[in-house]
């Protein structure tokens, strides 16, 4: 782009900005009202997409927060100074979002949709009940000195703020973390991302914007009752607009807001009786024809992975020796089934320990306890001197204990590079810089595939990606859960060589594996499990010729 075109663009942007800011000064009341509608839906839809876009939690609670804001303004508006009213609305919205978010964000899919809708209805019912029984009248009048012009400018300021927040969020590591959570929450947690806290924080931020919008909009009605403030149509409209525009990007929702607000306006004016039929038909068409929204038509948005790549490359050098992991009498019961029973072992630094045993012997359950996916029923796990039994997965990951999954889990919608970058977001400072994303991908042989969505990779490449993601945590210990399963003989060879390379770099490894050639080639020490207990341990060759082990795998010899 040449300097002159850039100056030209800046000029156009400046003129446009000035026109938007000065809008109330040169238009009549009708267009001003239209401008206000566009602005407030822009804020609501952008705030909605901030949380629901990346996580794909379809929230129908927009109007709950909007209504809370509007009611706060109606109750406090005449006695408190206006800025204090807005702050109060923000605070109450944040409080309600915090309480509900804390308890509900573990629901997913349809349950969250219905819950959020139920929440809005519950709050509306409670407000109605309160107004009828305590306040003794359902509606409230709000006489305020705020003119339409001022209201417009307040909304404009708020819109600028919501875009700024969205922009900063997208560039921060929390933006990528949120998308990682949306793609695969389990994989994200095991990559060191505190899924609960990040979801909650962004849910609260989004709710605060909605509440303040409600408060700012309140003076527009002068009379407010719960059916105006908590009109469920608002939640639905916001969802349609954000989806039409494209909820996956910052400026997507506004592309849906503008045409739809104008369309609603035209429809109510010309076809008041057929409004909902046309609305419904348009909505069906949007879903059928534009699954990724208007912005999806423009082409895939190139996102820059956040800064972690810029960290100076520094190969991890750890020359420490001694004990890294110590497991004492760890057990896990599911109901009456003891899946893992009093297992104890130690792993020293730089070792590759194999865990083998027939299917159902408790190997994966054991790994799940080490990585925090399951809370042990008893016993202790000490990792580098820290007790990690029952600690949350993201904390364990940040301590430098990474894992891959038996059933491969990549964040399908993120690119290969983003998958790895997501795991590097929250690695501990103590782990040092570690390798860059590019180096890690080269290491596992995915160097040329950085920008491909991880979901498009073949099964084997997804396994490679999982390993790169685990290594991005700069781990001291990597748990490989049947990482070699399903590879063909030549891939197996490369796979074994890769694990050997990791050991030579000083990474400690625990591998659950059925490929005995790999166990023989790689492991210095081996643990055999059967029916939840350790039945043998020692060097692979010795262990594999142990009669108890053979019996566990093949059953009793025929008499």
């Amino acid at each position: 782009m040449s300097a002159t075109t850039r100056t030209g663009l800046w000029c156009v942007a400046l003129v446009l900005g000035a026109a938007i800011i000065a809008f109330p000064l040169y238009v009549n009341g009708y267009y001003l009202a239209l401008g206000i509608s566009i602005l407030y839906f822009t804020i609501l839809a952008t705030a909605w997409a901030m949380f629901s876009g990346p996580t794909r939690y379809i929230s129908l609670a927009t109007v709950a927060f909007f209504g809370i804001g509007a009611y706060t303004a109606a109750v406090l508006g005449e006695t408190w100074p206006w800025p204090a009213v807005l702050l109060a609305a923000a605070a109450i919205g944040a409080l309600v979002a915090g309480i509900t978010g804390l308890s509900t964000l573990r629901l997913s899919g349809i349950y969250f949709v219905i819950f959020s809708f139920g929440l809005a209805e519950l709050i509306r019912q409670l407000v109605i009940w309160y107004e009828v029984n305590i306040h003794k009248s359902v509606g409230r009048y709000l006489f305020s000195a705020v003119t339409q012009d001022v209201l417009y400018w307040q909304l404009l300021g708020l819109a600028a703020l919501v875009f700024l927040t969205g922009f900063l969020l997208g560039r921060s590591r929390y933006g990528l973390a949120l998308r990682a959570i949306g793609a695969d929450e389990t994989a994200a947690s095991h990559s060191g991302i505190d899924a609960t806290r990040i979801k909650l924080a962004i849910f609260v931020v989004s709710a605060v914007f909605m509440s303040v919008t409600g408060a700012v909009m309140a003076p527009r009605w002068t009379y407010i009752d719960p059916s105006i403030a908590f009109n469920p149509m608002i939640s639905f409209q916001v969802v349609i607009m954000a989806l039409l525009g494209g909820a996956g990007s910052l400026f997507g929702p506004v592309l849906g807001v503008i045409p739809l607000v104008l369309l609603f306006e035209v429809l109510t004016a010309t076809l008041p009786n057929h409004f909902s039929i046309v609305l419904g038909a348009i909505f069906v068409m949007i879903v059928m024809l534009l699954p990724r929204g208007v912005i999806g038509l423009i082409g895939p948005v190139q996102r820059k992975a956040p800064a972690s790549d810029a960290v100076a490359a520094k190969p991890s050098t750890r020359e420490q020796s001694g004990q890294l992991l110590r497991v004492d009498d760890v057990g896990k019961s599911f109901g009456g089934l003891r899946a893992v029973d009093q297992v104890s072992f130690e792993v020293t630094r730089g070792q590759i320990v194999g865990i083998i045993g027939p299917n159902g012997s408790g190997k994966t359950t054991l790994l799940n306890m080490l990585s925090g996916a399951l809370v042990p029923s008893g016993g202790s796990i000490r990792f580098g001197g820290v007790m990690i039994g029952g600690v949350k997965p993201h904390r364990i990951a940040r301590l430098g204990l990474a894992r891959t999954f038996q059933l491969v889990r990549v964040m399908a919608d993120l690119t290969v590079a983003e998958n790895v970058a997501a795991a590097a977001l929250f690695r501990s400072a103590a782990a040092g810089g570690g390798e860059t994303t590019v180096e890690l991908l080269d290491l596992v042989g995915l160097g040329k595939m950085q920008d491909i969505p991880a979901g498009d990779l073949t099964y084997i490449d997804q396994k490679r990606l999982e390993l790169a993601r685990a290594l991005a945590l700069s781990p001291q210990l990597v748990l490989l859960d049947e990482w070699l399963a399903g590879l063909n003989p030549s891939e197996l060879e490369t796979g074994i060589a890769l694990i050997a390379k990791l050991r030579d770099r000083g990474t400690t490894i625990i591998m659950v594996e059925h490929v005995m050639d790999a166990i023989r080639a790689l492991c210095s020490h081996c643990i055999v499990m059967n029916a939840g207990s350790v039945i043998a341990r020692g060097a692979p060759d010795a262990v594999l010729s142990d009669p108890t082990v053979i019996t566990a795998y093949l059953g009793e010899a025929d008499a």
Binding site: W129, L279, M288, P291
Partner: protein, 291 residues
Amino acid sequence: MLLFDIALPGLVLGGMYALIALGLTLQYGVARIMNLSYGESLVAAAFGALSLYTGLGLSPLMALLLAVPCAVLINWLLYRFLLERLMRRGKDRGAQEIDSILVTFGVLFVIQGIMLIAFGGQYYSYSYLSIPVVVLGTTLAVNRLVALLFAAAIGIAVYLALTRTRVGTAVRAVAVDANAARLVGIDVAAMSGLTFAFGGGLVAIGGVLISMFLTFNASMGVIFTMKALVVVIMGGVGNVLGALVAGLMLGVVETAVARLVDPGLTLAATYALFLGVLLIKPTGLFGRAAS
């Protein structure tokens, strides 16, 4: 006696909830389509019964014979031409669920709009079998008892059809894992379409029966959708008996709150109960553990 005054009307009300939830159990629980236009279909069936009764003097129980085949056909067409495409497009169950929510949300407005044009916004009701009977000292209307009996009979019939027949087993297989069902030679698309269509038929039964004793208007569908959802999710998705129990429970709780606390809080009580159940057992009272 206060206990009977709460329990009997509560059970009758609950029977109605179970009735309106049965169709959704099939459509959502089995065909995996979260049909947000569910309540509108129900109200449409109620309007159908009303028109037949006031126009032709046809009793609602006769109207069932006409309404159910129509509803089955319409729902099958809906599945065939809109939903099936979404089911094929969705990468996973989550994406399919969200797409089906969104598209049926559009359908909701279309149905509602048509009803608003045809009937306007006012409330309708008609009187059929509204004869009071006294049961254990509590006065109940015959039409509500009829609805309760229908709910029980249909619930049991659907349960038996799902558990005792070949097609029912195939349908349950699709509900558990569509991909695995395909591998054992089940035509998943056909089964889902069939289930969705029959779910639609049950909606029509619910709508017709409800029209006998409830006052309704063109824009109250969403209330039924919510009630049905609450019942289905509380009972455990896809669990017919669970839906029956949850429906009865909800009816009793609402009646108790209305009687003992404040009639203005019944809806709040519904949602509070629902949200509570979701938080403690996210898969419903009788639901399987989440995978």
